[in-house]
Symmetry: C2
Subunit: 178 residues, 2 copies
């Protein structure tokens, strides 16, 4: 499962395949069917676990950093970690690109990831009184999209400093709190 996550972060849903995955885990390909009846099930499970982990991570950050503005400032860390971790990217960003080829169950989980992030950001933006609650969701989505884009661009050049400087620019421009 962790292996599938790593693969999906580097090669997307299309890059997932039972043989390689089995090799990596030290098991035979057919045995995976014992745990996941189909590739779609595997993909959905991986994506679901991914957003659940992210949700937990965000909640932990919230518990750790009570001040909403400081917490918001730390949000880009979440996406930075993927880059640090062998230049991987957000599994759900990758799968978002592949939407048209995704089984319904997988797509559902991918969209859930975005929802989790937007909801969290939205809540904090309101708590920090940075935007009115009427506009918080759209602003949250803009932040989420911008950060996903920064990650994508930085990864394409395997250069984390590109991510950092882009985030800095978002702050300087006022998209993220300084």
């Amino acid at each position: 499962m962790a292996a599938a996550k790593r693969t999906a972060q580097a090669h997307g849903y299309g890059g997932l395949n039972f043989r390689d995955l089995a090799d990596e885990v030290g098991i035979k390909a057919a045995s995976i069917y014992h745990h996941f009846p189909s590739k779609a099930d595997l993909g959905a499970a991986v994506a679901r676990r991914y957003w659940e982990d992210t949700a937990a991570q965000l909640e932990a950050m919230l518990a750790e950093t009570a001040d909403p503005v400081r917490c918001l400032r730390r949000y880009p860390e979440v996406f930075r970690k993927a880059l640090e971790n062998d230049n991987r990217m957000c599994l759900c960003s990758f799968m978002s690109a592949e939407v048209e080829d995704l089984p319904g169950a997988v797509k559902k989980e991918v969209l859930a990831f975005a929802d989790v992030n937007v909801a969290w950001l939205s809540k904090l933006l309101v708590a920090a009184s940075l935007v009115s609650s009427r506009k918080s969701e759209q602003r949250a989505r803009a932040i989420f999209a911008a950060i996903a884009g920064a990650q994508l661009i930085a990864r394409s050049r395997s250069d984390i400093s590109l991510y950092d400087s882009t985030i800095d620019n978002y702050r300087a421009a006022g998209l993220l709190p300084v």
Copy 2:
């Protein structure tokens, strides 16, 4: 070639294949080898043509809208067109995600697309006196990344209004000129 572009915009480099492409063009798969010696050549040609077209489009916009601020305001139109066109996305954003599986020649063209966009934005930002020339490239890259992200997120839900509202938020926040 146009067919390959459409496919790559919807399914990425991995989604390109000679059989389907041949069918769409009304030719036999093997015949494509007459024009492109390998899949990598095909991919590179498509990506190259893509950034060349985009470069031309940007130059045309510049010729049409002399005022740099107004021209910058129109930049998001370029990425909006892909969404309008059957919910496709930027070929090079998609391929950026696939970077690790891309032949070198293809990757080169994909990165060239980003360079073209960043250079254009950078030039206009300086012309509009919005940022110092020392910081223009990083700001340009931030704008490019943010817009690519907005396109990705909007496409995953097949909802152009999501793209528009995200761009509006970039403007409201000050990332893009109002």
